[in-house]
């Protein structure tokens, strides 16, 4: 149990500091248009980090989420290019396929009781391999303009992908904080057996969140393909851990039992802005990877330290 309100304030402070530092590094930074462009690059990260937060709250993890993204994108491209399926129907089928991948994860974790980290490590390899096999490393491009609009276009200045992320974030903010389903997540994360004996449908809840993760990863795959105008098996491969890092930085406890959607959104924003700021400041892309690894470890250590030294308070 963590003092989540306090963590959110700290994160907000960090976010403001990051923005100030970055705006000194690059003059182009403090411009609403640039900000939207930067955030647009992180829409997929943002969308995937939300179900990831739900899963980590229950004490699980889903490492296969970025493979699911790549696999969905590749399947969509394949259906469209080689089977001549309408691109929007292909996109919907790809999202459903993501859901099936999630269903498989859910079966392994909730039904077969395989530790989530290992189960999804396995499916991560399997889905990624499947994507590479289908794609043969070639990638599909040349999508119609109407489809590309999804990733590039905007509504009254706000990019569609950001709108989708915002809507999903708001829905899940309500689900987590206001519904019994949200309460179940915390109950499972704190004491799975206790939750089961108190009548929480543990298997159903776990199954649901893994399916949700698959569906949203599928959606993120479609958006990614639209934004980059290519469906490829290497999609998002560099960002596999960013999703976990964003969620953990946002105050979600890796051991389960606490976390909020707002914290996760702030975590995504911080990582996105640091990434973009480093790019603008001409820092090598490889250093950014070091930064993400360091953020992940240091935020775990920080929260562990804060959690131990301070009087514990309930969510």
């Amino acid at each position: 149990m963590r003092n989540i309100k306090k963590i959110e304030f700290i994160l907000l402070g960090i976010l403001i500091i990051v923005i100030i530092i970055m705006s000194f590094l690059s003059k182009a930074f403090l411009n609403v248009l640039t900000l939207f462009q930067i955030l647009q690059l992180s829409a997929e990260l943002g969308i995937m980090s939300i179900p990831m937060t739900l899963i980590i709250i229950t004490g699980g993890i889903d490492l296969s989420i970025t493979s699911t993204l790549a696999l969905s994108g590749v399947i969509m491209g394949y259906l469209w290019k080689f089977w001549g399926v309408n691109i929007w129907i292909a996109a919907i089928l790809a999202i459903i396929l993501g859901g099936i991948a999630g269903l498989f994860n859910g079966t392994l974790v909730a039904k077969l009781r395989i530790p989530a980290l290992l189960a999804t490590l396995g499916t991560w390899a399997a889905y990624a391999g499947l994507a590479v096999g289908i794609d043969r490393g070639k990638g599909v491009s040349g999508f119609p303009q109407s489809f590309l609009n999804l990733g590039e276009g905007s509504f009254v200045g706000i990019p569609y992908s950001l709108l989708i992320w915002a809507i999903i974030a708001i829905i899940f903010y309500i689900v987590v904080s206001k519904t019994s389903f949200g309460r179940y997540l915390f109950a499972i994360g704190n004491n799975e057996k206790g939750a089961f004996y108190s009548g929480v449908p543990v298997q159903k809840v776990e199954m649901t969140i893994y399916i949700l993760a698959g569906l949203l990863a599928g959606l993120a795959g479609v958006i990614y393909a639209s934004r980059t105008a290519t469906a490829t098996s290497s999609a998002f491969s560099s960002g596999a851990l960013n999703v976990v890092a964003a969620s953990v930085l946002g105050g979600t406890d890796v051991k389960g039992g606490s976390g909020t959607i707002l914290g996760t959104v702030l975590g995504v924003l911080i990582i996105a802005l640091i990434d973009a700021g480093l790019t603008l400041a001409n820092v090598q892309a490889t250093v950014q990877e070091i930064v993400v690894g360091t953020i992940l470890i240091s935020s775990i250590i920080f929260y562990e330290y804060v959690g131990k030294s301070k009087v514990k308070t309930t969510v």
Binding site: I114, L117, G129, D135, E289
Partner: protein
């Protein structure tokens, strides 16, 4: 006898059977050249599998995901040291030292803050991968001196890497069986609470496990790299999943407390054999990742199902 060595017998039969199948499809499979190539590829990963297994034995939630990154860092920096003319025995010591240092870092973070080692090493893995790319800039290391290739030194018809890799592994079989430290690993993995009451420092055992895993990864990185004259900066980037798969196929339980070194050696052998068989059967390289993923998935699922059967009811929620 059969129940005690059941897994090892099944693994041996699988290894031989797979060889027979490959041989009937492609008569070039069973040749001295190919078999020593399979043994060579096994010898540079078998110690990593043993280290990984020792970490996993420490209990549920433990595994070392950073083995591939440590392997690469050791390989690359050792090659660079050899390039500037450092004596080879110092290079070997360096590779072990790098492994020990990074293993100690993993161990320190895990033990000090009581974080599951899977999470710690997930973080160090990505940090180290970034470091490697930054350090090498993705460049290959070339023009190494002749003394560099000590792994290829032939002793009795087989390369030195095979002698060292398998020799050290067989030594580990005896050490794990007889040293009190390793008994503690099994105790922690079987029942951490009971281990604490028996006076075992649980944090210390996981520290030592990660330290050893780091050391083996560092040394194996050198062993692998010194087979080649050109060292790429992604030499160990695809290592971690096959290593975990080999350990699990070899009988290491992902729930902790169970695993034999003999099984790990056979698991490593089976995995490299499968990689060789896919080439000999003419399966396109683009599907090799999917096959590997499938093997890992099957290994994990079957291990958990087996454990569930063993302690039926305990795991059921």
């Amino acid at each position: 006898m059969i129940s005690k060595w059941g897994r090892e017998i099944v693994l041996l039969i699988t290894i031989v059977g797979l060889g027979v199948i490959a041989q009937t499809v492609n008569p070039n499979f069973v040749s001295f050249r190919n078999i020593s190539s399979i043994l060579g590829n096994t010898s540079v990963m078998v110690l990593v599998v043993i280290g990984e297994s020792l970490v996993i034995i420490n209990g549920f939630g433990n595994a070392d995901l950073s083995v591939g990154s440590i392997y690469t860092i050791s390989a690359v920096t050792s090659a660079q040291l050899a390039f500037i003319g450092t004596p080879m025995f110092l290079v070997v010591l360096w590779s072990i030292g790098v492994g020990l240092a990074l293993g100690a870092l993993n161990g320190f973070i895990t033990a000090k803050f009581s974080i599951p080692s899977l999470i710690t090493t997930l973080g160090t893995m990505i940090g180290l991968e970034g470091f490697i790319l930054w350090w090498t800039n993705g460049m290959w290391i070339e023009n190494l001196p002749n003394a560099w290739q000590i792994s290829n030194y032939q002793v009795g018809g087989l390369s030195l890497a095979i002698w060292i890799g398998f020799g050290a592994s067989i030594l580990m079989i005896f050490l794990v069986r007889n040293m009190p430290l390793f008994r503690k690993f099994y105790a922690c993995g079987t029942n951490a609470e009971a281990a604490v009451f028996a006076g075992i420092n649980v944090n210390k055992t996981i520290f030592y496990a990660l330290l050893l895993s780091g050391m083996f990864s560092g040394f194996s990185g050198f062993l692998s790299a010194s087979r080649f004259f050109v060292i790429s900066s992604n030499i160990g980037s695809d290592l971690v999943l096959p290593v975990i798969a080999a350990a699990i196929i070899g009988g290491t339980s992902i729930l902790g407390g169970r695993g034999k070194m003999e099984g790990n050696i056979l698991g490593a052998l089976l995995l490299t054999e499968i990689a060789s068989v896919t080439i000999f059967l003419g399966i396109p390289a683009t599907w090799s990742e999917a096959i590997e993923g499938l093997i890992i998935l099957i290994a994990i699922i079957s291990d958990v199902l087996r454990e569930n059967r063993r302690k039926r009811g305990v795991l059921k929620v």
